[in-house]
């Protein structure tokens, strides 16, 4: 009998036009696992993450998230997602953005809880500034703050280390370590420091 969360990819493949980005990916990740997805540009790292997030439909195969063997169809319940090219609403402040996200995720959040979460990502001091005034690194932190809100059991991070300084990298490492204690992390990256955080590595385009 399985306990905890399990992410399974069965015979996963994606084709754009005539070109197969990848095929026959078989994966079973259990709770507490960090999977690092690496590969050259165009090898399909982001495509895989987008399929896991439900933003792309696989050409073949399927993805399943299960708790104690019981499959969960609705992704919103178990998914946290962050991508470097994922945009934020630039005309909202960090606090407004997080509150909006919390409402979408059906979580009742007090202002204190929102601020505590932003503080965790060192955004508290700028919580009431519009996101369009944020630097690249701060926007990356904001994406992480949204992705981790509500402690989703599956955290999908597509190059979350892009644009982060040394302090940001420490923060990211801490986030991943914390998440490992209750969920699964899939991290697409090519940065050497981040590669070491994984328990498993999937080499795309190999």
């Amino acid at each position: 009998m399985q306990t905890g969360w399990t992410l399974t990819c069965h015979d996963l493949g994606k084709r754009f036009g005539e070109r197969w980005v990848f095929r026959h990916i078989e994966l079973t990740l259990s709770q507490g696992t960090v999977l690092v997805v690496r590969g050259s540009n165009g090898s399909g790292k982001s495509t895989l993450i987008r399929i896991l997030a439900g933003l792309l439909t696989p050409t073949e195969g399927r993805v399943q998230m299960a708790l104690a063997g019981q499959a969960f169809a609705e992704r919103r319940a178990w998914l946290g997602w962050s991508a470097t090219d994922g945009a934020l609403y630039r005309e909202l402040t960090a606090r407004e953005h997080l509150r909006w996200w919390a409402t979408l995720r059906d979580t009742d959040a007090t202002d204190t809880e929102l601020m505590a979460h932003l503080e965790r990502f060192e955004l508290g001091a700028r919580a009431d500034d519009l996101l369009r005034t944020y630097s690249t690194g701060m926007r990356q932190r904001m994406r992480l703050a949204l992705a981790t809100w509500g402690r989703p059991p599956l955290l999908l991070l597509d190059e979350p280390d892009a644009g982060l300084d040394a302090r940001g990298m420490l923060l990211l490492e801490r986030v991943i370590d914390e998440h490992r204690t209750f969920g699964i992390v899939v991290l697409a990256t090519n940065r050497n420091e981040s590669l070491a955080w994984g328990d498993l590595t999937l080499e795309m385009g190999a």
Partner: protein, 216 residues
């Protein structure tokens, strides 16, 4: 409902800070009404012409803002955030509610202006009110759906026109007929039945179609 409200509030807040949709719509609508008023200066318009020009002015005014709701999300790259975070039905009805709010604000400007500049909007007030409400409901549903359908395509402008034409034309004809009846001081019962039926069918269909086009 919380999700719908969240999408609606987020769009309102952005609109308040950017003022792109409403300003563009109001400008287009006001220019249309003033141009029609100038062209018909001194002439006595028939009820049919008054009704037709009225809905054309409203439609012209609404088009710039309402069709852009989803296109802006796709262009800015924020649509993925909505896809991951919210149910498709909540996204559709949240956007719909935002567009309907814009419709209400726009008509608050355009209806009195039309009455002043083009022709007095006399007749059956209750009929007018119901046509304005249900007609707006339906117009907003068509434009929200068509905006969502074309948002991910590259030939948006042309496709939007092609898609909206067959959906809008029957509605406009019913609304114009009803408005003409109301201008004559009669209750537009037949037209309201038509608009109400169209609204029900389209709203249910739009939500269903949207759930299928919103995903990849």
């Amino acid at each position: 409902m919380r999700e719908v409200g969240a999408v609606w509030r987020k769009d309102l807040l952005q609109e308040w800070r950017l003022r792109q949709g409403l300003v563009a719509s109001a400008l287009m609508g006001v220019v249309t009404v003033v141009a029609v008023g100038f062209a018909s200066l001194g002439a006595s318009l028939s009820e049919g012409l008054t009704a037709g020009l009225f809905w054309v002015a409203i439609l012209f005014g609404m088009f710039p803002a309402l069709a852009r709701g989803f296109i802006v999300e796709e262009e800015a790259g924020t649509a993925d955030l909505l896809r991951v975070g919210a149910r498709p039905s909540a996204v559709f009805w949240g956007k719909w509610l935002f567009h309907f709010t814009l419709y209400l604000l726009l008509t608050l400007i355009l209806v009195p202006l039309y009455g002043l500049v083009v022709a007095p909007l006399k007749g059956h007030l209750g009929g007018w009110l119901l046509l304005w409400l249900f007609g707006g409901f339906c117009l907003v549903s068509v434009l929200t759906l068509c905006g969502a359908l074309v948002a991910r395509t590259t030939t948006r402008g042309a496709l939007l026109a092609v898609l909206t034409f067959p959906l809008l034309l029957p509605l406009l004809l019913i609304l114009i007929g009803g408005t003409k009846t109301a201008l004559n001081g009669l209750f537009p019962a037949d037209s309201l039945q038509g608009v109400f039926g169209y609204t029900l069918t389209l709203s249910a269909g739009a939500s269903w179609v949207f759930e299928r086009v919103w995903a990849d």
